[in-house]
């Protein structure tokens, strides 16, 4: 009977193709939303692991988190180098790791920091050693893969995140690659790590010097020289009391702001979530429309096929076989739609990650499967089955003799 179902579907090919496409689009939409939101959330969680608070220049706390934890935005500004020591002296602070941002190499951000930073994100060396002297750099796994940089190679950074070969370069102060990190699935895969002092050196500032931030012109950059600054400080608490006390304490300082990644990320996800919910509702509506379309298609087809169905009963098809035949048509449509939808969904995620830098930076991965996809497929199959069963049961209620007599 499966063969018969396939033959019927093939016989009305255009209708079949349109129904499969409609269902595939709804499945793809839901898969894209699921993969995007789950991978985004997962990435946000992984990248912020161990970072309880970020201290930086006053401005948008979300911008501070996005620039210092996820490295997808420009910094809010710089803070005095003293801030690092100030934080380390606070009760309940286990770690305070400085970040000096400003330059990049082929779109990969150069981060002046300490070896404690990769350790905080669970990164370990795949080759070479950790940076120690000025101008030594350790590259993340994605950086190594995409730039082809090897140990011992030298490179020069460019201003800001404009990685193009045309932008201004710090030709006189090349970095040397001394280490390569293993893949971690975190933002550190896409970073180039060096000492804070290297970043100062690159900008021609004697230690202690000044770093400039992204988006700043070379002229502005020069004007900033003079004060020893870092862009932000990542803080890991050693006691829960610090989580209560420190943010308020920091925010009372006139030139500092403290931002908590968990708070800012949940605020961001809540904002993004409204949009995602709207698109999700639309995708569910699309799936129901696809189910209705399959229902109408099968109902119409079975109306035309009443004589065939009666004939099948006459030549030996049981009631169960008739139901099975019609149900299998719905299930075949739904299976094809769900399979195509999965491929389409993952394909779109893959293409988006390949062509949109920000999405790639967020670690969007087309080859990752989410358990929720099984639910989407089950929903699609369920809709296909229900859409088929109603017309199937209607066929069974028809009088075979009367149907055949009407057709004779």
């Amino acid at each position: 009977m499966i063969g018969l179902s396939l033959a019927y579907l093939k016989d009305r090919g255009l209708n079949t193709a349109l129904n499969i496409l409609l269902l595939a689009l709804s499945v793809a939409s839901l898969v894209i939303l699921l993969l995007f939101s789950s991978q985004l959330e997962n990435r946000f969680d992984k990248d912020a692991q161990g970072i309880d608070m970020v201290v930086g220049a006053k401005g948008s706390p979300l911008q501070l988190i996005l620039s210092s934890v996820y490295h997808v935005d420009i910094p809010t500004g710089n803070v005095p180098l003293d801030t690092v020591e100030l934080l380390r002296r606070q009760l309940g602070v286990a770690e305070a790791i400085p970040l000096a941002l400003g330059d990049s190499f082929r779109s990969f951000r150069i981060v002046g920091t300490e070896p404690a930073y990769p350790a905080l994100l669970g990164a370990s060396l795949a080759g070479g050693r950790m940076f120690a002297a000025k101008m030594e750099a350790v590259i993340g796994a994605d950086v190594a893969a995409r730039t082809g940089a090897n140990l011992g190679q030298r490179f020069v950074g460019g201003h800001g995140m404009s990685s193009g070969d045309d932008g201004p370069k710090h030709e006189e102060t090349p970095f040397i690659v001394v280490g390569r990190l293993k893949p971690t699935g975190t933002v550190i895969d896409r970073l180039i790590l060096t000492r804070v002092e290297s970043v100062w050196d690159v900008h021609g500032i004697a230690d202690p010097g000044e770093v400039h931030h992204e988006g700043e012109s070379a002229e502005d950059h020069e004007a900033h020289a003079g004060a020893a600054e870092v862009t932000a400080v990542l803080v890991r608490f050693g006691s829960p009391i610090a989580a209560v006390r420190l943010p308020g304490f920091i925010n009372r300082q006139t030139n500092l702001q403290a931002a908590v990644p968990a708070v800012e990320v949940s605020r961001l996800l809540a904002l993004v979530g409204v949009g995602l919910d709207a698109v999700r509702a639309f995708a569910v509506l699309l799936m129901l429309t696809a189910g209705l379309s399959i229902f109408v298609a099968l109902l119409t087809a079975l109306k035309e096929r009443e004589g065939d169905m009666a004939m099948l009963r006459v030549i030996g098809a049981s009631r169960a076989a008739i139901i099975g035949q019609v149900a299998s048509e719905g299930l075949i449509l739904a299976s094809a739609g769900a399979t195509l939808g999965l491929l389409l969904g993952h394909g779109v995620i893959g293409m988006a990650a390949a062509s949109i830098e920000q999405l790639r930076a967020l670690g969007l991965n087309a080859l990752t499967f989410h358990p929720g996809e099984a639910l989407i497929v089950a929903a699609a199959l369920g809709i296909g089955l229900i859409a088929a069963l109603i017309p199937a049961l209607r066929v069974l209620k028809t009088d075979i003799a009367e149907t055949l007599a009407n057709a004779r």
């Binding site: 033959a7 016989d11 004939m311 057709a407």
Partner: protein, 230 residues
């Protein structure tokens, strides 16, 4: 109404294949078919002749178990078809009867070969490709085996329908108006083919028609009259 014994053949040791006893059917209080007692012996070629509305189709539906008679009983292959529960009727029809309709009722989405394979699968639970090829060859459709029903001429379609009815090797082949849409030459060829294939497989043939052109081909005829009020 003709005499019920017009079709009575000499009984064989195995008894009649179809036997009606006091058979009649009424709809909305009106008798639409009355046969009374009647027997069809194995291997016979029988004709049920009558105008439209005389009850031919009603009788065929009762013989094939699609309809329960108002009065009397009918047995097929020794089993009381009219007294069986629906599932058992389906099973008896499946293993004993092959049907040919005027409108053919071939599945349009399937090729000739696949139409026969489906009938075989449903009736016998398996597909015998060699037997299918042999049957298609026997009805002269070897060159059209892969064609869909809509690609066949009326005559080819009729042959395909006969082949489907016989591929399950039924003991009884029931044909309802098989020649009504055919011209004289094709009607004659159709009957020749049905005789030939039925004889070749040992099937008993019961043809219901209002087509007087083929009446002379059947020695055994049951003439039904136009319906009368009960």
């Amino acid at each position: 109404m003709s005499s019920p014994d017009t079709l009575t053949h000499s009984k064989t040791a195995q008894g009649p294949l179809v036997e009606a006893r006091g058979l009649s059917h009424a709809r909305d209080g009106r008798t639409v078919m009355a046969i009374g007692d009647w027997q069809l012996q194995p291997g016979a070629h029988a004709l049920l002749l009558g105008p439209s509305g005389s009850g031919k189709t009603t009788f065929i539906n009762i013989v094939t178990g699609l309809l329960t008679p108002s009065h009397g009983a009918i047995s097929v292959a020794g089993e009381a078809m009219s007294a069986l529960p629906p599932a058992a009727r389906d099973a008896l029809r499946r293993r004993t009867i092959g049907l040919v309709f005027q409108t053919l009722r071939l599945i349009p989405a399937l090729s000739v070969t696949d139409n026969l394979a489906l009938a075989q699968q449903l009736a016998l639970g398996h597909v015998d490709r060699a037997a299918i090829a042999g049957m298609i060859d026997r009805v002269g459709l070897a060159h059209r085996a892969a064609a869909r029903p809509r690609q066949l001429s009326q005559g080819e379609g009729q042959r395909a329908a006969i082949a489907r009815a016989l591929i399950t090797r039924p003991r009884l082949v029931v044909a309802d108006e098989p020649t009504s849409a055919l011209d004289d030459a094709n009607a004659a060829r159709m009957i020749d083919l049905m005789f030939d294939v039925a004889d070749g497989t040992g099937a008993t043939l019961l043809v219901a028609t209002h087509d007087g052109r083929i009446a002379h081909r059947f020695a055994n005829r049951l003439n039904l009259m136009a319906p009368v009020a009960a």
